[in-house]
Amino acid sequence: MIYLELFVAFLEVGLFSFGGGYVSIPLIREIVLSYGWMDDGMITYMIAVSESTPGPLMVNMATYVGSSQGGILGALVATLAVVLPAFLIIILVTSILRRFISNRYFQAALSGMRPCIIGIIMAMGIFLMVQNCFGSILSGTDGIDIMAVIMAIILGAVYWGSRAVKKNGISPILLIIISAGAGVLLYGFK
């Protein structure tokens, strides 16, 4: 029963991928391979499509695998399964947290975790930027991508510079739209 398999597989992904989309890639690869749904090449393609389309990465990968294995129903089942744990955990946490949050030890732990998450997010941003501009050191694709560096400078100047002109500057959504346009201009339409 493919739908049940999809549900169980992506419930596992939703339950065991801590730290968001990029971290879940190896887990999804492993699970999809173990069920024999796709070969390695197809998985790589699926991940690339999921990265270059809108939506949370993990959800996109679930929809893609589900859809390729079980059509629209498969896509629904896989997407639902990957989302379910996060959804339930937050409902549970927010209804319990109110009482929990004033606990001294919980506050102490939280005070150590808040600066931690900031460091993690900053590291992720720096890492992605370096990877885009200079390639990955390990995969041997290193070498400066001049176009990417130019794009980063232009987009960074537009995004942060706009705040000097207007109070809140341009919105993140507008930046995404501009960046897509800049990509087409720089790398070509056809």
Binding site: V23, P54, T63
Partner: protein, 191 residues
């Protein structure tokens, strides 16, 4: 009802412009839900991000569920989460069923070259905003820099270490600091 509708459309919009992992979406949440609509505070967003990082599942879903639940309980949580998922669901479904060579379309891959850069900028920007709003003391700054360096090393060397390890270390450091100093100022957290 009106609130439910605007919840749906706001998260529909966020879902449509979220690329990559959930971190880039933090900039969108900060812009729309914190600054423009004032549905949640910056501190709430921080705490939910901490919880999202230490619990499984997509961070984007954690945040959508939280904002929806805060405004309109269970129906709100469902509507916000659905709004977040529907755009990408439709797009991925259509691509996987009908577009075999999606990535070979030149303008798609060109646009994505640009979007990749924007995503990195948005993540850095989200972190910069968090640093600005952080109540700074030597303890917090040390932890932040330690987490930054460890995460960079993990990423650069492609080590199979979950960020969860760093989060646990942070929690432990918080508890030890509290045990030594015997005090912990209360900060506004999830209301």
């Amino acid at each position: 009802m009106k609130k439910l509708l605007s919840l749906f459309f706001v998260f529909f919009k966020i879902g449509l412009f979220t690329f990559g992992g959930g971190y880039a979406m933090l900039a969108l949440i900060e812009d729309i839900c914190v600054e423009k609509r004032k549905w949640i505070t910056h501190e709430e967003m921080m705490d939910i991000t901490v919880i999202a990082e230490s619990t499984p599942g997509p961070i984007a879903i954690n945040l959508a569920t939280y904002v929806g639940y805060k405004l309109r309980k269970l129906p709100g949580a469902l509507i916000a989460t659905l709004g977040m998922i529907i755009p990408s669901f439709c797009i991925i479904f259509l691509i996987s069923q009908f577009l075999d060579r999606f990535l070979e379309i030149k303008w798609v891959s060109s646009a994505f070259q640009g979007i990749k850069i924007a995503v990195a900028i948005l993540i850095i920007d989200a972190a910069v905003k968090m640093i600005r709003k952080m109540k700074k003391n030597p303890f917090r700054i040390t932890i932040m820099i330690a987490a930054l360096i460890s995460m960079l090393v993990i990423n650069m060397l492609a080590l199979h270490v979950s960020s969860l390890v760093i989060m646990f270390a942070g929690a432990a450091a918080g508890l030890i600091f509290y045990a030594i100093h015997g005090r912990c100022r209360k900060e506004p957290a999830v209301k």
